[in-house]
């Protein structure tokens, strides 16, 4: 377990190092980018849809996980009742 954790942490450090370099070099020069041509309405709709999708996926995941846990809990309580008193 410890070696797995070490591997995960070291991989993350190596992966994040280039981002630190980018941060140190400062912000990009925006003047070299060309004039905007994408529709603002499409970007607006896309942004709100993505945000809703992200929150919805999280809610569905929590609800499904909770249903599974509740089923397991009921099963365990029945088993405990069946084995008798005196835990």
């Amino acid at each position: 377990m410890t070696s797995t954790l070490t591997r995960i942490v070291s991989t993350l450090v190596v992966a994040l190092f280039p981002l630190g370099e980018a941060l140190a070099s400062g912000a990009a020069d925006l003047s070299k980018y060309k004039e905007e041509s994408v529709s603002g309405g499409s970007l607006l709709v896309a942004a709100y849809l993505v945000m809703w999708a992200l929150v919805s996926v999280f809610v569905v995941r929590v609800v499904l996980g909770q249903a599974k846990t509740e089923a397991r809990l009921t099963e365990l309580s029945e088993q405990i009742d069946a084995t008798g008193d005196g835990g």
Binding site: A27, E35, E36, G40, L44, A47, L73, I80
Partner: protein, 249 residues
């Protein structure tokens, strides 16, 4: 409202009434906020309609910052004085913080595409948000892989604590290091009154929804913890019963 499993293992299965009311209020706030943004707020003079991303983008950023900072604080408490409830709260805050971090990281670039002409630039605030999100995701992956291991829980908590200074830096990044990111709150505020109402309505709606998500996730994690405790208790009882005949003979 409470289904009792045994005398010492009371687990509330059904969602409490207060939480249901809170969910309804949050949903109404979000609907009201969306309607206000769509119908009442004017389009920005320079950016046009795309500026309306701003309301939920900034609200999500607030939820992300609060979520990740609260996760760091609860992780620190769990490190100093370990308890299942502190761990459950830390995980709930972290997960919800990550959800809103992804909202920020997707809505921001879509807005930037129109206002800056590109989706991404390695300016201080954006880079820090990405770093903090990656750190938080790393903690979640670590906790997922480590399952119930105590060392996994402690390493995860330590990593979450490290996210706190980075979250603090996100807030001051534009002020200290410049960059392209606009400063709306520190930079004079919103002048138009309808835009100001839309902004604060969106912030309240998102923070209320984030709190509901944290409460729901906290309940789910506590339920999991109690299920594990119950499973352990059952295993111990079965083992004792198997040993009993051997001890008498």
């Amino acid at each position: 409202m409470t289904q009792t499993l045994s005398a010492d293992t009371r687990v509330p299965i059904r969602v409490p009434k207060t939480l249901i009311i809170w969910i309804i209020i949050s949903a109404l706030l979000v609907q009201a906020s969306l309607l206000w943004i769509a119908l009442k707020t004017p389009a920005d003079v320079n950016l046009g309609i795309v500026q309306k991303i701003f309301y939920f983008h900034v609200g999500s950023a607030f939820a992300m910052m609060l979520g990740l900072t609260a996760a760091s604080v609860m992780s620190l408490i769990d490190l100093i004085r370990p308890s299942d409830s502190a761990d459950a709260l830390a995980r709930s805050f972290l997960e919800v913080g990550v959800v809103f971090a992804f909202c920020v990281l997707t809505s921001g670039p879509l807005w930037a595409r129109k206002s800056w002409g590109m989706y991404w630039t390695w300016e201080p605030r954006l880079t820090l948000v990405l770093l903090v999100t990656l750190l938080a995701v790393a903690v979640l992956i670590l906790r997922m892989l480590a399952k119930d291991s105590t060392i996994g829980r402690r390493v995860g908590a330590a990593m979450a604590v490290m996210g706190a200074p980075a979250s603090y830096l996100i807030h001051f990044a534009v002020k200290w290091w410049g960059g392209n990111h606009p400063q709306v709150i520190q930079g004079g505020g919103i002048q138009n009154s309808e835009m100001r109402v839309a902004f604060w309505l969106a912030v309240v709606a998102i923070l209320s929804s984030a709190a509901v998500l944290v409460a729901t996730r906290y309940r789910a994690i506590r339920l999991q913890q109690r299920t594990q405790a119950l499973a352990l208790r059952l295993s111990a009882r079965v083992l004792r019963r198997q040993r009993a005949p051997m001890e008498t003979s």
